[in-house]
Amino acid sequence: MMTLKIIAILLGLAILVMAFIAAENKKLVVSIIAAGAVSLFASVLYLVLEAPDVAMTEAAIGSGLSTIIFFYVLNKIKKERKDHA
């Protein structure tokens, strides 16, 4: 049980780090990939919480198709995100 708790805490920290990168980075490509990584770690967290159906759905849709759709849209837009501070 302890190793599962440690894995869950590490996954939570990884999700936080990736989400921070997704929100704060200047390049959109890095943000999109970081959002996909958040989805991936969340899927593994669902597996640790013993919910394989939810993990499969999150991995296929959140981490796979959602990232691909973001990249197609980014290809159409082709703009760099300016700093609005």
């Binding site: 499969m56 759905t57 796979g64 849209v73 159409k76």
Partner: protein, 234 residues
Amino acid sequence: MLKKVFVLAVLAVFALLLFRSFGWTDAGTELNEVATRYAEDGPQEVGAANLVTAVIVTYRGLDTLGEVTILFLTASIIGFFLATGRKGEHVPPTVRNTSEILQTASRVITPVIFLIGIYVFINGHLTPGGGFQGGAIVASGLVLMLLANPGRKVSHSLISAVESISGISFVLLGILGIILASGFLDNSILGYGRFGTLFSAGAIPVIYIFVGLKVGSELSGIVSNLQQTTKEDI
């Protein structure tokens, strides 16, 4: 600068609320009444080895109908706004050839991905998975095909035909449940079979096959619409 401070303040308020709510609920040691009824009587009543599938398709079948409707709405809105040109007119994309490794590997891997997706939604009542997961895997196989050959023609009429027929069949199976058995999407219209085999759980495999085909063709249609749209700006 002020915007960042404001965002951090809102996040801090949310964090405080969530932290306070840690003390309200302690981890339950037993399920509540509805969940106990589902867990104890579910396998015998429904005949499916996967309890999650039993809840999604039979106990909460009406919510599944709502989810299928939302997916259909999304796909048709995207297909409406991203017109891909008139029928028969195919605009070839002006991209360079993809690498040979990608093309060759996609020829090997894409059938395997389709096979895994179809396996997941056919065996939805036995192993974790189901219609939505299997459909998403099938759609990602199509994404690999489109990534390897961007100029490949994807027949939109075939995708629309599969999606419409699967959706109508899903609703017809639900209405058959009302006519022949005790409620919408009741799965006792077919025999239960032996518990744990492929032909068990009544109509659940048939329902999930239609749901899997519908979700797979919908997501494939969305991706191919985004890739082949002739609009210059979205």
